[in-house]
C-alpha cells in the first residue's frame, strides 16, 4: 500500500518538474519581445477602457503612444493633462497640454416648456424612437428623454432629471469620453471646452425651424432673433438656419450676450448672477453711449449742413 503512494507521489512530482522545465524553456525561446514602456504607460493610465481616446482600451492606447513616439494626436481625456505628463515623462518626450472638455446638453426643452403632443409607448430607447418618428413633442430637434446617454455613461456622470425630463451632467465626474455624444440619435450632447475656472456659456437649443414655429413647439426655443449676435463684440456668435451658436474659441466670456436672449437660453455655468448683471449693465451703458454719440453726430451733421446752406444763401 505504501509503495503505491510512494510511486504515485514520485511519478507525479517527476512529471511536474519535467513540465515546469519545458514551460520554462518554451517561455524563454518563444518569448514575445514587447516594449517595456507599454506596460509602464498602461500602469499610469486610468484603466477605464472607455474608448474616449479613440483606441479600443487603455492597453491599445499605451501601444499606440509608444509606437507613435509623440503625443501630438493622442490624448487620454479621462486622465487629462496630469496623466499625459506622466506618460510623457516615461517616454521622455514633450507633453502636449490640452484644454479639458466636458459634455453639455444642448436642449432646454423641459416638460414645462415643451408640451407633449402625443404619447410614445414603444421600446424605451431614444434610438428606437428616433427611427420611428420625430418625437413625442412638437420639436423634432429636441431631447427624446429616454436616457440612452445615461445608459452608456461608464462614469456615472449623468442622470435623467425627473422634473425636466432632460439629462444632467455631473461636472466632477464627466471625463469627456464622448460615449454619450456618439449614442445620442439627436446629437443633443456635445463636447465643450470646460473653460477657465470651469466657466462656460453655450446655447442650449438645436431647433432650426423658423422662430414662430420653433416657439410654438417649445417656449424656450432659439428663434434665431440674432440679438445675441448683435451684442457680441468678438464675432463669437453665429446665426445659421435660425439657430444661434457660440464659438467657444472666440468667446471671451464677457457675458454681454446672456441677457439679450428673451428666453434666457444662453446657459451659463459656474458664473455668478452679479457678473451677468454687471455685464448687462455695461452693455446697456455702452449701447446708450453709442446711441448718444450717433445722435450727436447726426445733429452735428445737420448743423453743418444748415451752416453750409446759410453760407450758400448768403453768397
Amino acid at each position: 500500500m505504501n509503495e503505491v503512494i510512494l510511486y504515485t507521489v514520485l511519478s507525479l512530482t517527476g512529471l511536474g518538474i519535467l513540465a515546469a522545465a519545458i514551460i520554462h524553456l518554451v517561455s524563454k525561446k518563444f518569448a514575445v519581445q514587447e516594449d517595456e514602456r507599454i506596460d509602464k504607460v498602461e500602469e499610469v493610465l486610468p484603466a477605464t477602457n472607455c474608448g474616449g481616446c479613440g483606441q479600443p482600451g487603455c492597453r491599445a492606447f499605451a501601444k499606440a503612444v509608444v509606437e507613435a513616439g509623440t503625443l501630438e494626436e493622442l490624448h487620454c481625456p479621462v486622465g487629462g493633462n496630469a496623466v499625459m505628463k506622466q506618460v510623457a515623462a516615461i517616454l521622455g518626450i514633450n507633453a502636449v497640454e490640452r484644454d479639458p472638455f466636458i459634455a453639455v446638453v444642448r436642449c432646454s426643452g423641459s416638460f414645462e416648456y415643451r408640451k407633449k403632443t402625443n404619447i410614445y409607448d414603444g421600446e424605451s430607447s431614444c434610438k428606437i424612437a428616433a427611427t420611428l418618428y420625430s418625437g413625442d413633442t412638437g420639436c423634432a430637434y429636441g431631447c427624446l428623454g429616454m436616457g440612452d446617454c445615461v445608459d452608456v455613461c461608464d462614469f456615472e456622470a449623468m442622470y435623467m432629471d425627473e422634473k425636466t425630463g432632460l439629462p444632467v451632467i455631473i461636472e466632477d465626474k464627466c471625463t469627456a469620453c464622448n460615449a454619450c455624444v456618439k449614442e445620442c440619435p439627436k446629437d443633443i450632447l456635445e463636447l465643450w471646452p470646460k473653460g477657465k475656472k470651469n466657466k462656460r456659456i453655450y446655447v442650449a437649443c438645436l431647433n432650426e425651424e423658423k422662430g414662430s414655429t420653433a416657439r410654438k413647439e417649445c417656449a424656450v426655443a432659439c428663434s434665431g432673433c440674432a440679438k445675441c449676435f448683435e451684442a457680441c463684440r468678438y464675432d463669437a456668435i453665429t446665426v445659421t438656419n435660425n439657430l444661434a451658436a457660440i464659438d467657444p474659441e472666440k468667446c471671451t466670456l464677457c457675458l454681454e450676450c446672456v441677457e439679450t436672449c428673451d428666453v434666457r437660453n444662453i446657459i451659463t455655468v459656474n458664473i455668478p448672477d452679479e457678473k451677468i448683471k454687471s455685464a448687462t449693465d455695461h452693455r446697456i451703458k455702452m449701447e446708450e453711449r453709442a446711441r448718444k454719440k450717433k445722435e450727436e453726430e447726426k445733429l452735428a451733421a445737420q448743423a453743418a449742413q444748415q451752416q453750409n446752406g446759410d453760407a450758400t444763401k448768403q453768397a
Binding site: D121, I128, A140
Partner: protein, 444 residues
C-alpha cells in the same frame, strides 16, 4: 392534412384575425376638404421639386411638384384653389417633410383629364408612351410602400420578365380598400392589367386574391372566362402574403434571391389599386390625385371605404366615419401589422395611405417585456427565413456588420416576429434600428 387546397407561401407566415369590418361597405367619395396639405415626398426615392409659389391658383390635376431624377414621382394638385404656405409638416411617416398647402376653391379640373366614367378598352399608346404617361401621372405603388410604378415597369437590361402578378391579396387585417376596388372596378382593373402587360411585353398575368374575398375571386373568374393570358388564383389566407416576395413564392413557387428584385426571377408585381390608377392615368389621362382609404376599427361607428383626395387631413375622414370613439388608444395609418401610429390628427392622406385604423385603448398598449426563452417562434414565423431573435441582439449591441451578414437587410418589416413572440419582445423595433444604421453607414 389541409382541407384547403389553395396555394400559399411556404416560409413562415402567421394567421392574425382578419376583422374585415368594412368589406361590404361601398366606396363613397368624401366631400372636398377646406384645405389640403400635399407632402412633396410621398414615395420611395428623391423628393419632388416644387414648381408653384404661394398665392398661385392651381387646377385639380395640375403638377405642383416635379420628379427629380428617375426614382421619384410627380405630385399633382388634388384640388383646385390657391396655394398657401409651403412649409414642413408632420406626415404619416412621423417625420416632418416639406408640403404644399392648398386652400380649396371650387373643383376646377385640368381640361386634359377625361372625367367620364365610361370604360375605354382600346389601348392606343405604345409601351414607351405608357411608361411615360404613368411617370407623368405620378403613379406609385398603392399597397403601402409607394414605390414609383414607372421604375418597376422599366425592367433593367439583361433581365427577362415572363409573368406579371397582380396583388389583390390585401393580407393586412381590417383593410378593405383593395377589396372594394376589385368589386367595384373589375373591368377597369382588367384593362389596367392589359396596359401593364403591353408595357412590359409579357404574355402571362395572374391576379392573386386571398380566399376570404370569395366575391372578388368570383367576379374576376366570370370576367376572365374567355381570357387566355390573364388568370385569377385563390390563395389561402396567410400573412404577409401581400409581400411581393411572398406572393411570388405562393403563385409561381419562385424565390427571389437575397438582396434581389422580383425581376431577377422574371416577375413584376403590381397592386390592384395601382393597376386601377394605371388604367386611369393611361386611358383617362388622370394623374394619381385620389385614392380609396379604409377607415375602420372595432368601435368606429361606420367603418367605411372613402374615395379621398390626396392631402386631406385624417381628421376629416374620422369625422365622416362617425367621429373618434372615446376608448381610442391609437390611430394607425395603414393596417394593424405594418401601419404606423400617427402623432397628429392633421396628418394628410398620402398616396400610400391604405387605411386609417382606430385601435381601442385595451388593445393599443404594449405588454410587459420578458426575457427571450429561445422558443424559436419568431424563426418559424419569419417569411424571409431569418432568425429575428438573434438580429435583435446584434442590433441592440450595435453589431451591425454581423447583422448584415445574417441578412438583416432582407427583412420586410412585416412584424410577424413581434406578433408571435410570447415574451412580447420588441424584435422588429431593433431590427429596424439595425437596418436604419446600416443604411446610414452606406450613405456616409
Amino acid at each position: 392534412m389541409r382541407l384547403n387546397k389553395h396555394k400559399t407561401f411556404k416560409t413562415g407566415g402567421i394567421h392574425p384575425h382578419d376583422n374585415k369590418l368594412s368589406a361590404q361597405v361601398a366606396i363613397t367619395p368624401l366631400p372636398l376638404p377646406k384645405m389640403v396639405t400635399i407632402p412633396i415626398i410621398q414615395h420611395i426615392g428623391a423628393p419632388a421639386k416644387i414648381v408653384v409659389n404661394r398665392g398661385d391658383m392651381v387646377k385639380t390635376g395640375q403638377i405642383i411638384a416635379k420628379h427629380e431624377g428617375f426614382v421619384s414621382s410627380n405630385i399633382h394638385a388634388s384640388v383646385s384653389g390657391r396655394v398657401g404656405v409651403i412649409e414642413e409638416v408632420m406626415d404619416s411617416t412621423g417625420f416632418k417633410h416639406m408640403a404644399i398647402n392648398i386652400r380649396v376653391k371650387g373643383d376646377d379640373w385640368e381640361e386634359s383629364i377625361d372625367r367620364n366614367d365610361a370604360l375605354i378598352e382600346e389601348i392606343k399608346l405604345t409601351p414607351k408612351e405608357i411608361v411615360n404617361r404613368i411617370m407623368e401621372a405620378g403613379v406609385v405603388g398603392m399597397g403601402g410602400a409607394a414605390f414609383p410604378s414607372h421604375v418597376k415597369l422599366s425592367v433593367p437590361e439583361g433581365k427577362h420578365v415572363d409573368h406579371l402578378l397582380i396583388n389583390g391579396v390585401e393580407c393586412e387585417p381590417y383593410l378593405t380598400a383593395d377589396h372594394r376596388v376589385m368589386l367595384e372596378k373589375p373591368k377597369e382593373i382588367i384593362v389596367g392589367i392589359k396596359i401593364l402587360m403591353k408595357a412590359l411585353g409579357v404574355q402571362k398575368a395572374i391576379i392573386g386574391i386571398e380566399d376570404n374575398k370569395a366575391d372578388a375571386i368570383e367576379i374576376f373568374q366570370q370576367l376572365l372566362k374567355n381570357e387566355k393570358h390573364i388568370g385569377v388564383e385563390a390563395l389561402e389566407v396567410q400573412y404577409p402574403q401581400g409581400g411581393e416576395k411572398q406572393l411570388i413564392q405562393a403563385l409561381l413557387n419562385r424565390e427571389v434571391p437575397s438582396g434581389g428584385l422580383p425581376a431577377d426571377v422574371g416577375v413584376i408585381v403590381h397592386n390592384v389599386g395601382t393597376t386601377f390608377a394605371v388604367y386611369e392615368a393611361v386611358q383617362k389621362n388622370k394623374p394619381l390625385l385620389e385614392r380609396v382609404v379604409t377607415v375602420t376599427g372595432k368601435s368606429v361607428k361606420q367603418p367605411s371605404n372613402f374615395l379621398v383626395r390626396i392631402g386631406t387631413p385624417v381628421i376629416d375622414l374620422l369625422i365622416a366615419a362617425g367621429g373618434v370613439p372615446e376608448d381610442t388608444g391609437k390611430i394607425v395609418s395603414g393596417g394593424p401589422m405594418m401601419g404606423k401610429a400617427i402623432a397628429d390628427l392633421d396628418v394628410p392622406v398620402a398616396k400610400g395611405t391604405s387605411g386609417i385604423l382606430l385601435i381601442p385603448k385595451a388593445e393599443a398598449s404594449r405588454s410587459e417585456i420578458y426575457n427571450c426563452v429561445h422558443c424559436g417562434k419568431c424563426i418559424e414565423a419569419c417569411p424571409m427565413g431569418l432568425e429575428p431573435y438573434r438580429l435583435l441582439i446584434m442590433s441592440k449591441k450595435g453589431n451591425n456588420k454581423r447583422a448584415k451578414e445574417e441578412h438583416i437587410l432582407d427583412c420586410i418589416e412585416c412584424g410577424s416576429c413581434s406578433f408571435v413572440c410570447p415574451s412580447n419582445r420588441p424584435i422588429l423595433d431593433y431590427i429596424r434600428l439595425g437596418k436604419t444604421q446600416l443604411k446610414k453607414q452606406k450613405n456616409v
